[in-house]
Symmetry: C2
Subunit: 124 residues, 2 copies
Amino acid sequence: MAGTDQLSAVFSALSDPTRRAIIAELADRDATVTELTAPLSISMPAVSRHLKVLERAALISRSRSGKWRASHLESAPLREAADWIERYRRLWDASLTRLDAHLAAVQAADRATDRTADDPRDPE
Amino acid sequence: MAGTDQLSAVFSALSDPTRRAIIAELADRDATVTELTAPLSISMPAVSRHLKVLERAALISRSRSGKWRASHLESAPLREAADWIERYRRLWDASLTRLDAHLAAVQAADRATDRTADDPRDPE
DNA sequence: CCTTCATTTAACCAACCAGTTAAGCGTATT
DNA sequence: AATACGCTTAACTGGTTGGTTAAATGAAGG
């Protein structure tokens, strides 16, 4: 898994297409192992282990009801992962829009001959 | 890497903390292999291979300038990855909101025998 | 109680991953 | 031309992964 931290576990879990298919399925509705196995072309033990991986990454929680175990998608880790990506993607995009911001700042300063100008740039 | 598709490659690349550190570095500025190696506690060949992984996932591009090779962050794959996550996270959140809305509606109807009720819950 | 159904664990395999050191390659620098 | 520098490739190691089949667990039902 490379790292043992939360983010590494989440990205590692998401790196498998089968697990992403499972997540897509669980986005609609909670499902049992048998239900999740049906559309996939792998054995139930394999699915069971994928679920274990997803569970260890906290991407899903599971509840037992009789002899069935339902898997339930958790959004928190997905949000964390998306946040991490957005953070750095935005930094990158910032370098593209920095020119725009600069021009805007210049224009603002130009306009601000008689009133206070505020900085268009916002860290984080 | 589990899958050979683009998304799998990107998530797999992001699943390593060293590679995420490299991305964080490259979000600020392009950098050479030596520069990227400095703050890390691993050998240069190791960094070189991490860069290869990032390049294969199209997360970075590289240019040669003299005897230096600069790495440059590409945002497109990051956006794709974030989009995938957001797609399913939003679906999940929607189902929660739906439940909240339902419960709120029920409570509202219950309370609404003599006055108007407003929803205390506010989605993100 | 014995069976059946849903799921997990065990044992095994082939492939991959992240790190190492040592050697190779291509481009300055002297 | 010879040396030094930046980086990559090769060869090896130990640990992990994703799949398999077969056996074990655990709750439900005859």
